[in-house]
């Protein structure tokens, strides 16, 4: 990993104004994504992972949201400073995004052909006939049978898995450098999930693009990503390569997440371990570590000042009392 990163996010903070005051949904996070790499962003709902993904495309609903601080550099250009028109060129062209709900993410009253060719024409400047050929080609690549015929279908005539394939085809049609996939499989059934995940991986290798996979599903992360960052309450709790992250998580939150995955264990557990307590209210954050109230390792210093993300060994984590080198449970 000596190359310069494709995407460099530095100290990104995203604010929302609410009737009760301003809320920082994302509070000073930094990460890099390299070409040809898949980065996972993991966390519970509300931790800021989706907002982070949307911010990369300048899609934070504004008002009430805005990027309050930080930069998002794509190949050296700061996207946070681009105006709306320039950002539209980036969207769907350089960065594409696919969403969680394939059932509602496509426009119900236009054919797949119309929605795909519009995107291709806009970013590649082709004629309608050329764009149509490209669209058929892409649909074939994402594994839709008889693509020339399915192209003129409406979304409601397709299954959920098919629609997500169409979304992926649309997203990749203009050869983006970065694909942001926000929970792309959550709404699908298990077999389809596996197929879609595999498809994303295969296309990522084929197109040599970078992928950011936003998910709460650690299994998916383990399968597809090279690196992952774990978000908690708008901040990065831990960031590492997949292998060390799963083998020896340093942040107690990461440990808790891994522990709560159901899997085949040596001894039968009567109950799945959970992380006690609740995510703190973003309006009333504790002064110290945001995880302290739920943390079994928390001590006095955790409640006075917030720990910074620091590199130690193979991981970067934000914790005063990380889990040491004691052998963690092997990952299934």
């Amino acid at each position: 990993m000596t190359a310069t990163p494709l995407l460099k996010v530095t100290d990104l903070a995203i604010e929302f104004s609410t009737p009760q005051g301003r809320v920082r949904a994302v509070d000073g996070i930094s990460f890099d994504v390299y070409e040809n790499e898949t980065l996972g962003i993991v966390g519970e709902s509300g931790c800021g992972k989706t907002v982070t993904g949307l911010s990369l495309l300048g899609l934070i609903p504004s008002p009430p949201g805005r990027i309050a601080a930080g930069s998002i550099e794509l190949a050296g250009r700061n996207l946070a400073k681009l105006d709306e028109a320039a950002m539209r060129e980036v969207r769907g062209g350089e960065i594409s995004m696919i969403f969680q709900e394939p059932m509602t993410a496509l426009n119900p009253v236009f054919t797949v052909a119309s929605q795909m060719t519009d995107v291709i024409i806009r970013h590649k400047g082709l004629t309608r006939a050329q764009a149509r050929r490209e669209a058929i080609d892409m649909l074939g690549k994402v594994g839709i049978p008889a693509p020339a015929r399915r192209l003129d279908d409406y979304p409601h005539q397709m299954s959920g898995g098919m629609r997500q394939r169409v979304m992926i085809a649309m997203a990749l049609a203009c050869g983006p450098k970065l694909l942001v996939a926000d929970e792309p499989t959550t709404a699908l059934d298990v077999t389809t999930q596996a197929q879609v995940i595999e498809l994303i991986g295969q296309l990522q290798r084929e197109f040599r693009m970078a992928v950011i996979l936003i998910t709460h599903d650690l299994g998916v992360v383990a399968e597809t990503c090279q690196r992952a960052l774990v978000m908690y309450c708008g901040r990065i709790a831990e960031q590492a390569q997949i292998e060390p992250l799963f083998r020896s998580p340093r942040h107690p939150y990461t440990h808790g997440l891994l522990d709560s995955i159901p899997r085949i264990r040596d001894q039968r557990l009567t109950q799945l371990p959970t992380i006690a307590g609740r995510v703190p209210d973003l309006l009333n954050l504790p002064p110290g570590c945001r995880f302290a109230d739920r943390c079994t390792r928390a001590q006095e210093d955790c409640r006075t000042a917030e720990p910074e993300l620091t590199q130690a060994g193979q991981s970067a984590f934000a914790c005063y009392h990380p889990i040491g080198h004691q052998p963690a449970e092997p990952v299934a």
Partner: protein, 317 residues
Amino acid sequence: MELLQFSVRKLIAGVPLVIGVTLISFLLMVYFGPDKTFDLLGKNPTAEQIAEVREQLGYNKPFLVRYGEYVRELVTFNFGASESTGEPVTSLLARTIPVSVALALPGFILGNLLGVALGLLAAYYRGGLADKFIMGSAAIGMSISFLIVIIAFQIIFSSSFGLNLFPVRGWDVNSIGDYVSYVTVPTLATVFVALGYNTRFYRSVIVEEMSRDHVRTARAFGVPPAPLFYKLILKNALIPIITRIMFSIPVIIISGSLLLEQYFGIPGVGKATYDAIVTGDQPVLKAVVALTAILLVIVQLLTDILYRAVDPRVSLK
């Protein structure tokens, strides 16, 4: 074929509505309505004369027979003649309906087009100054009675106290120029009153459509605001828009704008209806009520077919 079957089914399903409307109007206006016996008799009628007139008017027949006669009139489209002028009701309608349509159409079209435009504008700048200004004006417009607008516009545009540009009232149309001069003030009044309601309605429809997932998808693929609004969002918003427009049609064709026609003395079907109300002219009233119901059934059918044209998810089953 599918369309034909659907239409037939829909029209049959409309029968209970027509029966209900005719039954209620018959009950209220005719059966329990004013007794006309003594209008037709001279002074000091004898008991035989009274009985004779009642026989003529059918008052001594049983309820079902009398209602049946109304239904027969409706089916054969023969409502008889107006009691006050003697003009056949069908010719009265044929004479007045085109006037009403000509009077109402420009205002209807303008009111809806402007309403959609302002609704889009307000929705696009949601929460901003333009939105607040448009919606504030709409709230004021909605609070002014149609009646006041009509009178005020007449004073402003057609009287010697105002601009005095247009005829005060009447409908003496022999050319396009006449038409424009007579239709302008009523149209301005209609648009003024409709605009508040329309803008509010269209804004809320569009705002709702703006929040859909597929709009976010479109934005994520770099669709600029103009095609996003005029193509993607508007087509999705068409169902409620079509509903609103289609169901206004019977009102325009049959009732016209009763108030407008009455105030400006325009010989449309609205004024004819008003005159019939005032004089108790039952054949005219029966025809107007029954035609409205039939037209509504037809409009419902057309609306469903239009839904199908706009939204591929709608099936005509």
